[in-house]
Amino acid sequence: MSNSARSEIFARLRELSSKASEEDIQRDRRALGSAPAPAPETLEICEAFLANVLKNHGSVDCAGNRSEAVKAIGYHLYSHFRSHRLVAGNDRRLAAMPWRDAGVLPRFGSLEVGEPVALSFAQLGVAETGAIVTWTGKANPAAHNFLPEHHIVLVDTADLVPTMETAWARINQEFKKNGRPRGINFIAGPSSTADIEGVLVYGAHGPRKWHVILMGKVPASALEMARASNMPA
């Protein structure tokens, strides 16, 4: 059935098509260029990213190095769960973190039902929207993004990109190196819904809390400035 439907649909589209060659179509698309960029970001990239994460109702922390990052994770876990347990994918970068510095005990593998916290090491952070990007694989099972109560995400300042176009340029490099991952997830906030009378509630299905830790050389005032830019005028 679907085969004859396919030929019927394509036959109809062929009648309507411009009959242009593939080269011409590609040339036409190139001539249309890229989307106008969002207004040039006046903020420094770390500050812009942090400000947008806050705008997306995420919580943020900054860490100058891996040891500080581990401590920030430990602090978050202890203050919310009175525990130092979490699950992380088999990500080499996460395995190499100095976990003992904060007494955190990650279990490396896939989140099991009932485990409350997952940690991901983002592939990218997008300043334009305050989104983090992960892709599926051993390093970050998809369930870690969507099933836990809290999702903690580490972002390296070196992986910050200004816009979604620059994010795609980086993703296309990954395609060339390792092929297309099954899923690419841009995450910009905790799971939320406003389906009941327009009231915003977190934790519709996935994480109730989304905590982003920016690791690396973050300008001293960036977090403070990001918080200030989110204050009501």
Binding site: M1, S2, A5, E8, I9, F10, R12, L13, E15, L16, S17, S18, A20, I25, R29, L32, A35, P36, A37, P38, K55, N56, G89, G109, S110, V113, T129, T136, G137, K138, A142, N145, F146, M164, E165, N172, R180, R182, G183, I184, N185, F186, A188, G189, P190, S191, S192, T193, A194, D195, I196, E197, G198, V199, V201, G203, A204, H205, G206, W210
Partner: protein, 473 residues
């Protein structure tokens, strides 16, 4: 979905009497435009972006055969099965076949207006499958046995009280009060989580298909669609052939328009791109993935005068800004797509005969066209549909007579000016004392609700000419 658009006027009258629902619609009419305006203002190049995406959409539709073919090729390379469906019946049987091949009993479904169009749920349920909608709004209306009233927020017509009673009746969870919205959301989360973990097949829609790499884009805030896409062992993506875009960056450029126009965010919590089944190195994800690409008259629309309607990105902004939609709500329109976009789309996807009232559900105020992120001239398309109704003699004879009389007069400017000047003068003289009319011949519908103000003595043209003469002197 069964269509009831022919009873639009009755539906609308009933809706206007429902004061509780009217209050919630008033909230949409006030807050949704404010949120959109703020989000659009925050993106300085919004108009230039809108023009760019429009050119991309036009280019994609001009070369739809090429891009759809390219998408199919890439999607198959990524390990997908790609199916084509002529109409709703085709789509439904393809999906059922896949479910039956896997002996699936439980289906977890993300929000998809396309599958509302084809009545997929009812079809699968008749075959004995347990289909659970997982978007909270869709879940609520599924439990209530209702249909969506808004394409983005399908259960906006229901109050928290109604939802509380519904959950208490439907969920076998013992005595509990569920006092706050957060408790209601929590209960739905608990019930649906179990279903997600047991479902054998996940069904989602797509906001775009990307020709260059075979990915589909899914935009949600709840993350329910992502659970459907990642947990069950089979994934089926149902969408229409017109959703295809050339490049990945085209999808995210459109995303900038979509999210700001729909919810006033700059990006939703989850924007996901899925390419196919689990890879060798993956530890989770579906083992088998399918795309079902539906035509259902899209290729006909592409060939006709209303092809711009295929550029609609389903943001719902035209609904939130429409004085008719925000007065009568989505159910009055009697099918899947309400508001201005629905009033154009419904006649095209069903028939003008069945949907004759919808193109008339318009005040020609133009707000929908102003806010449409796809720059679709909705009022013009609605007018063209009304014209078609008139040509096909679908509208009431007295309307056609009235319009013909008006057209005859309007084409004779000097006679038009004379006749209107006389009429205005007569009305002025008659209404001079009271200042308004409580009844007028031929305008009973209007004056049954409010008084008609008595006109000034002169018409606009008389005053305008007098002004010019004065300026000349």
């Amino acid at each position: 979905m069964e269509q009831h658009s022919d009873s639009f006027l009755d539906n609308a009258s009933a809706a206007l009497k429902n004061t509780e629902q009217a209050k919630r619609l008033d909230m949409i009419a006030v807050f949704a435009p404010q949120m959109r305006t703020a989000a659009v203002a925050g993106f300085k190049e919004f108009d230039a972006l809108r023009d760019h995406v429009k050119r991309i959409r036009q280019h994609s539709l001009d070369h739809l055969e090429h891009y759809l073919g390219q998408f199919e090729h890439e999607a198959v390379n990524n390990g997908n099965h790609v199916h084509f469906a002529r109409d709703g019946e085709d789509l439904n049987s393809i999906v059922l076949d896949i479910c039956q091949q896997h002996d699936a009993r439980r289906i977890a479904k993300g929000k998809s207006m396309v599958t509302e169009e084809t009545s997929l749920n009812a079809f699968l349920q008749r075959a004995g499958l347990q289909v659970m909608e997982t978007d909270l709004g869709e879940y609520i209306i599924q439990q209530a046995g209702e249909t969506p009233s808004h394409i983005v927020a399908p259960a906006l017509h229901k109050s928290a009280d109604e939802i509380r009673q519904l959950f208490q009746a439907k969920h076998d969870l013992g005595a509990r009060e569920l006092p706050e919205t957060v408790d209601l959301v929590g209960e739905a989360r608990q019930v649906l989580r179990e279903h997600f973990l047991k479902a054998e097949v996940g069904i989602i829609g797509a906001n775009a298909l990307i020709a260059e790499n075979g990915y589909s884009m899914l935009v949600t805030n709840e993350g329910n669609g992502d659970l459907c896409a990642n947990l069950p062992r089979v994934l089926i993506v149902c969408t229409t052939i017109d959703r295809v875009l050339p490049l990945a960056e085209d999808a995210t450029a459109m995303l900038r328009l979509l999210v700001r126009s729909a919810t006033g965010q700059s990006q939703t919590s989850y924007t996901s791109f899925y390419s196919g089944p689990r890879r060798e190195t993956d530890v989770d994800g579906p083992l088998e993935t399918h795309f079902v690409l539906l035509d259902n008259k899209r290729s006909e629309i592409l060939a006709g005068d209303y092809r711009e309607m295929l550029e609609c990105i389903r943001c719902g902004a035209c609904l939130n800004h429409c004085p008719i939609y925000t007065s009568v709500g989505g159910h009055a329109y009697g099918w899947v797509y309400p508001g201005p976009m629905g009033s154009v789309l419904t006649p095209l996807l069903t028939s003008l005969e069945q949907s004759q009232a919808l193109p008339n559900a318009c005040t020609s105020c133009g707000r929908c066209a102003e806010v449409c992120p796809a720059n679709i001239p909705l009022p013009d398309l609605l007018r063209d549909l009304r014209h078609e109704e008139s040509v096909k003699k679908l509208s009431a004879p007295r309307w056609r007579f009235g319009l013909k009389a008006h057209a005859w007069l309007a084409r004779r400017p000097s006679m038009y000016h004379t006749v209107t000047a006389i009429a205005i003068n007569v009305l002025h003289l008659l209404g001079r004392k009271r200042g308004s009319f409580s009844r007028l011949p031929l305008a009973g519908g209007w004056t049954s609700e409010r008084d008609f103000p008595a006109p000034q003595a002169k018409t606009f043209m008389q005053l305008y000419k007098a002004q010019i003469r004065q300026n000349d002197e």
